[in-house]
Symmetry: C2
């Protein structure tokens, strides 16, 4: 099996590549070759021969170079995040829309007809929302990022219907707890209020604690991608874009879960500092999803926010719950 | 007022331009300059100074040339129709998607911030449908044409939200009765079964007479475009794409209306010749629309199919109901 990963240097990309390297196969098919692409050089995974290509996917010839690899499986994760796509209009369209257009078109022309797993986002939905968003809720994005991701979904569905790709789009919920430094996603605080206090650092909470949002761990996100890679196309049907499941909790519940896992001390490091600019974005975000189709197709996320925190501790902190200095 | 019309040589484009020329103003603002664009040279309207530009909107520099005109009002009608976009994948994406992308982006960069009226289509919707399709029904196109039109809608909404355009997208129902020769739209028979018998020629009906579909006359379509040109943006709100009203009738009801208007003789010229290829497309088409938002905003179509036939006779046949040779 020949696998191409775009956005391979990103947080999810790195974790996906590490898991591919650790397992050596996808759905029982050995990985014969792996091609990694990103705007910065992706790290080569240990134990698996991988080539890498660095550059702008929307640039002349870039997508054709990737398509010439003739992948059987593509994970298209490359993208500029929500905050950045809103701040830099041209960059967002270039990467998220034109990069996707270029990749799909190059794959069509190369004719290797890969299964293509596309990282979309719940940002395709815009307010007003019902209490629980059903799978057939009409998407009206309220950000450029959501617009670009939804245009990619439509393209994926049409390229699949026409027989050029075998695409599956996954509307990922907010991935939490993100390791490392904050990125430019407006949703970053959902992670930082867990990650930073666990590391003994202060975190700022820019929205009211009543805000409800849906989360899945980075480990669950990689699980979604790998499950989509091997899913029976006949089971999916004509609507190739699926809202992924997750854990819907309020910020207050997030914080209570942190207290149950790591004690009361980290909670004092969360500082409420309402930010009208962040709130203006977050107040239009969806809260809860039915995700019925995805669950029926076997996509599984965590079942509690405590589990999400414990996965962060296991995968990022060596399994050690930090103890407050006494 | 400076007005740009793309697709000006098309059926609706020609009728729009003729009406602009006849009225000399839009919403009371005199037309100072008119620029017409199409892939073939649009006819200059009588009584109004108009420039015209011929070429491929997605070609290098083409959209920038149009944007340099600095329009206050744009009617973006250019497009490859449904049957052609399905038959020629590359042409459909080039004209319907990349032409639209190029135009919007050139207008953004030129900065004249026009009101832009975009001809979208009910093809953005795909089966299965409820009996009456509400305004917030989720669009899942089942054709490349519908996909391309919906991508344009999303772009229009985002460019408007960001303040680069003041866009309104109109999801037009099937325009009926189309004058002239059939085009490559799969919906062409809805018109030809009226137009051809009225002209004493045979027409082929490729689908069952039970098929229900929503129609508006070419005159109503021009009315939609002009109403959208002057509508108060504050009244529209953030969701800038509107499903237009129309007359929902079965093919049998169409034919009965023809009988009431023109007598029984033309009806004998309609030959049922089921075509599985056409049926495969048409059976997934939407039937009835609520069009509540559009009606509330003052968009008005005909109220009966007889009225649609009488408009065809008035506008195309000099007001004369043809009499069968006795």
């Amino acid at each position: 099996m020949r696998i191409l990963v775009t956005g391979a240097a990103g947080m999810i990309g790195q974790k996906l590549v590490a898991r591919l390297a650790a397992e050596g196969h996808v759905g029982g098919r050995p990985i014969a070759a792996l091609l990694l692409h990103d705007v910065v050089a992706p790290a080569a995974p240990p134990g698996l021969a991988a080539e890498s290509v660095t550059g702008d996917l929307a640039g002349p010839g870039a997508a054709a170079e990737l398509a010439a690899f003739r992948p059987d499986l593509v994970f298209h994760l490359a993208g500029v995040v929500s905050g950045e796509a809103e701040a830099d209009f041209e960059l967002g369209y270039r990467v998220n829309l034109h990069g996707t257009l270029a990749l799909f078109e190059a794959l069509r022309q190369a004719g290797s007809h890969p299964r293509l797993v596309y990282a979309s986002s719940i940002a395709v939905f815009g307010a007003p929302f019902p209490e629980v968003i059903p799978d057939d809720f009409h998407p009206v994005p309220l950000t450029s990022y959501g617009t670009q991701k939804l245009m990619g979904e439509l393209l994926l569905n049409d390229y699949t219907r026409r027989g050029f790709l075998d695409g599956i789009g996954l509307r990922l919920p907010t991935i939490c707890v993100r390791p490392g430094r904050p990125n430019k996603a407006a949703s970053g605080f959902f992670s930082s209020i867990i990650r930073e206090p666990l590391a003994g650092r202060e975190a700022v909470l820019p929205v009211p604690r009543e805000v409800v949002h849906t989360h899945a761990s980075p480990r669950a996100a990689v699980g979604f991608l790998l499950h989509a890679a091997t899913l029976d196309a006949a089971a999916i049907g004509a609507r190739r874009n699926l809202t992924m499941p997750g854990v819907a909790v309020s910020v207050a519940e997030e914080i209570a879960a942190l207290g149950r896992v790591a004690g009361e001390a980290p909670l004092a490091l969360i500082r409420d500092a309402p930010d009208p600019a962040v709130w203006a974005i977050v107040r239009n975000w969806p809260t809860r999803f039915a995700a019925t189709r995805a669950r029926d197709l076997g996509f599984a996320a965590e079942t509690s926010f405590e589990e999400i925190i414990r996965i962060h501790i296991a995968d990022e902190l060596g399994g050690v719950v930090p103890r407050p200095a006494s």
